[in-house]
């Protein structure tokens, strides 16, 4: 049985001031197996973030439904952890308190929380920064904390919405290795949205390519590169072949988006 099932999910936004309604997402179907790492790749405005937010329960689909372990998603919940592109650490809580937030909301005793928090601080390499405020951290460290915060809750699926989009190239590469390393060791079902082709291939066991507005799923590419993956993989011939293929796919879509913008 699939871990996550997306069945005919679409999203239409009401027109502004009596204008035409905007179709952000055409009906999409997707089945995600347990412990799969899926990246959703597409140009800006293809509805990939909308799809992820519907899975998270932060937005309601116009049609269709999302099933997690056979249960329909109606609202956000701790079984679907999310990491956002913007920095969403709670600024009034320290790194450790941020990571403990979900456990605290669940009513877990402080003693029990401390052990779990310590292990996740360790996992994302933030030892020594437990008592720092988010403002004192670099962007990469903030996103590492956000990942630890989502994982500490032990969600059924981890959703990431361009989590490294605001980071510089070097930090981004390190963050990719860190997240992939965690996934290789701990196994988790992951849905990862990005517009970066290299990132999509490097992280994924499957890349879902989305088309330009109105967004729909265009292709579904299995990535059979071996694990554990090392950053040198990005310069291997197999990687280059996949990159060339996806670049072509995405280029067509990006050009279509640009043309749509030119006419509208």
């Amino acid at each position: 049985m699939s871990k996550l099932l997306i069945e005919g999910v679409s999203r239409t936004f009401a027109g502004v001031r009596g204008g035409q309604p905007v179709k952000a997402l055409m009906p999409a179907d997707l089945a995600v197996a347990a412990n799969d790492f899926i990246t959703i790749l597409g140009p800006s405005g293809c509805g990939k973030s909308t799809l992820l937010r519907i899975v998270a329960g932060l937005e309601a689909p116009s049609t269709g439904r999302v099933l997690l372990d056979g249960k329909a998603v109606t609202r956000p919940g701790p079984d679907r952890g999310m990491v956002f592109q913007s920095y969403t650490l709670f600024p009034w809580l320290t790194v450790a308190q941020n990571i403990a937030f979900g456990l605290r909301e669940r009513g877990m005793a402080e003693k029990e929380r401390d052990g779990i928090v310590a292990s996740y601080v360790d996992l994302v390499g933030l030892k020594g920064f437990e008592n720092h405020w988010p403002k004192q951290l670099s962007g990469g460290m903030q996103q590492r904390t956000a990942i630890a915060r989502a994982l500490a809750n032990d969600p059924e699926i981890l959703l990431l919405d361009e989590p490294f989009g605001a980071l510089d190239n070097q930090t981004r590469g390190l963050m990719q290795e860190l997240l992939l390393g965690i996934w290789e060791r701990r196994k988790k079902t992951v849905l990862f949205v990005t517009h970066d082709i290299e990132e999509a291939i490097f992280m994924a066991s499957r890349v879902i390519v989305m088309s330009a507005r109105p967004g729909r799923i265009k292709s579904d590419v299995a990535i059979d590169l071996p694990h554990p993956r090392h950053y040198t993989l990005k310069t291997s011939p197999e990687f280059s072949d996949l990159k060339a293929r996806l670049t072509e796919d995405i280029r067509v879509e990006a050009m279509r988006t640009a043309q749509n913008m030119a006419v509208s």
């Binding site: 999310m82 009034w92 809580l93 405020w133």
Partner: protein, 257 residues
Amino acid sequence: MRPLHPVSPGIRTVLGISFFVLFVAFWAWITLGGHVNRIFLADPLSMLRDGWRLLVEDRFWLDILITIWRVFGGFLLASVVAVPIGIAMGAWKPVEAFLEPFVSFARYLPASAFIPLLILWAGIGELEKLLVIFVGSVFQIILIVAVKVGSTRRDLVEAAYTLGSTNNGIVKRVIMPANAPEIAETLRLVLGWAWTYVIVAELIGSSSGIGYMIINSQSRLATGQIIFGIIVIGLIGLLSDFAFKAFNRWLFPWSLA
């Protein structure tokens, strides 16, 4: 001068102090130099002399204490009522729809115009003074707090939901801590206005306080005392503002780190 170009801290201090010096020098020049009649404006030296006599002989410090107590009493009363209402309005839109039109209207009712009514209702005792400050502050605080709370970062709220927060958890553990520093800043601002209301309250139907001393001095043309009273209000306002600022900084280290 280059627009928006910063000034060094040393020059900033010198410039800030030099205006005070110029101001007092101008004041001394027009009064001591005989350019205005002493009846209308006392010179700086006799102002200081009058102030010293007020403090030592007329026990003016008691008036100062009673005014401070009124300001903080009325202000605390207003805060205790207004902050929860403001948070409720910002967080729950039906509450906002219910109260916002009335509060917006009530905010423009001048507190000073209520003084005759409040005297009828509460007499000329302490309660009336507190109520003037209360009426002047409470609607302002409600509205500003409601607006701040209403503009809570949505991504933080969404993040909390994905971590399992309930609706009540969002209000208690996201909306309230996220806005606490701004609410404290709002209270600091409104405390400044409370100083204006208290003096107005003391000018009418009062027998103690800084405002009473000022109106009393007017009938005796003691302009030195009036100016001394005004300067005392300014100094206390400045001090309480500094203290409030320091307190906020101590309370919310995360918002400035």
